[in-house]
């Protein structure tokens, strides 16, 4: 088979209806995730424990560093711990929504399951990106948020609706950008057989989000802001809550995120058109 023909033209559907339809499908993903999680309850607790242990070690690392100083590049200990909480929240969000999916996609392509996903009457990118949820990560997310709020109070944050909204917007940009980066990498598996290990690269880079980008100088900081956009995921949201965010970066982030989504969509559609299926 020489590649996938575009599906027969459907009657035009308004964008709003498409969104509603996809949301309805997504609700079904959530239901399925609960069913699956109920089957593997022990696994759930093991994963939560693992998340807590990792967070505890990240906090311990910062406590060790701040034994020696009250401030690093303008960040107090409470502020840095707040960022660790935000990091855990973002990591939880990525774990909850997309991680399991990104790791499954190369397998769909290698083993032919992709054919079934392409046949379904929803966006195939939507389907393969969001169909699996890891509910245990929601608990880790809540723990991260708890740490962020606790440390935020210690740092003397004056919580405001505007600040929270701004932080959430930055975080959204960060998550979308990280998703775009990861999804683009995974899309490569239409051509390359072994891209699973690129996940490791992604995890390695995401680790750097545990530190404020302002700890770093010059090229490293620029890299972590724009090339590997971890700054949008953790540093900028924390700064927004502290009332120190550079507001000009918000439209930059939104623009980059939109670009990321459109770019991955174009890349994915291009890849799917050239997909020859594992079974043909």
């Amino acid at each position: 088979m020489a590649g996938w023909e575009s599906p027969a033209p459907q009657p035009r559907e308004s964008l709003a209806r498409q969104v509603v339809r996809h949301l309805r499908v997504w609700r079904q993903f959530v239901v399925m995730a609960f069913v699956r999680e109920a089957e593997y309850r022990v696994n759930f607790f093991v994963n939560v424990f693992d998340g807590v242990a990792q967070l505890a070690l990240a906090v311990a690392t910062f406590l060790l560093i701040y034994q020696y100083t009250d401030e690093i590049a303008g960040w107090s200990r409470a502020e840095a711990l707040m960022l660790v909480g935000i990091y855990r929240t973002v990591a939880g969000l990525i774990g909850l929504l997309i991680e399991a999916n990104m790791m499954a996609i190369p397998g769909y392509i290698r083993e032919g399951e992709m054919d079934f996903h392409l046949l379904r009457p929803v966006s195939s990118q939507f389907l393969v990106s969001l169909r699996r949820l890891r509910l245990d990560e929601a608990v880790n997310m809540a723990i991260g948020l708890g740490l962020a709020i606790y440390a935020g109070n210690q740092a003397g944050v004056r919580w405001s609706a505007l600040g929270v909204l701004e932080a959430a917007a930055f975080m959204l940009c960060g998550v979308v950008l990280l998703y775009a980066l990861w999804f683009a990498t995974v899309t490569l598996s239409f051509w390359l057989v072994q891209v699973d290990t690129l996940d490791q690269l992604f995890f390695g880079l995401f680790e750097t989000a545990r530190y404020p980008v302002t700890f770093f100088k010059g090229a490293v900081r620029a890299l972590l802001t724009f090339a590997v956009p971890v700054a949008f995921a953790t540093t900028f949201p924390t700064q927004a809550l502290l009332g120190q965010a550079d507001r000009r970066l918000l439209p930059v982030g939104l623009g980059l995120a939109a670009l990321g989504l459109l770019g991955t969509r174009a890349f994915w559609n291009h890849a799917v058109r050239h997909y020859g299926s594992a079974s043909s």
Binding site: D50, A53, L64, Q67, Q200, L201, L205, E207, T208
Partner: protein, 269 residues
Amino acid sequence: MSAARTLRVVWRLTAVNVMMTLEYRGAFLIYMFNTVADPTISLLVWLAVADQGVALPYDRAQFVTYYVMLSVTAMLTATWLGSYLAEAIRLGKLSPFLLRPAPYILGMVGNNLGEKIIKLPLLLPLVGLVAIFFRHDLRLPTDPRAWALYLLSLPLAATVAFLLDYVIGSLAFWVEDVNGLLRIRTLLGAFLAGQYVPLALFPGELSGLLAAQPFRYTLSFPLEILTGQLSGTALAAGFAWQAGYCIGLWALYRLLWRFGLRAYSAAGA
């Protein structure tokens, strides 16, 4: 089995693993990138702390030396056998190996050495780049004796780490699922081995405890030799601990396998 024959078997198994591992060299290059990137990020953070002008147990040169050499040392002392061993025991994959005229552990040794032989040439250029980047602060020992001691403690560290994993994996003879235990060993072990923060920067009250726990001897101790922070007596004590853990864990492994193999056969596998 005689020592010469054991060595010959390990040599053959290592050679086999080198050939098998060559298949994965692309994947390993990425792993090696992470192996270098993580310590470099930690180093940059500590240099940012040093820039605050506060007093630290390490000077800039020691931080650079520690974290640049950390990636090579961590790679050469790494283990990954725990979950494989546990699976082999749980699923009965061990059985065919029990008929072979060499202990099962030698296969794991061959796998460990074989992969490291492939990883080393992939890792060294990356470490070289980092070393060049920090060349102004990098201060490696000039005394060949320090390097000799480092090269002596390195295989000992790899042995302690290997046997620790082997002992924990062997618990699968009695315990259904040891993966949780292995996960704790990985997370806590890395932290207590100085993977993220050098042990010399932990609170002083903990120094006695830190010196006695086994993870120091899986990674931190060889690095401490290179940063030049150890006195003559501390060096001797460190080697004594390291050798002690090697012998103790070896004895424990022998004991566990003696009784474990009985439990294994009793299960009818």
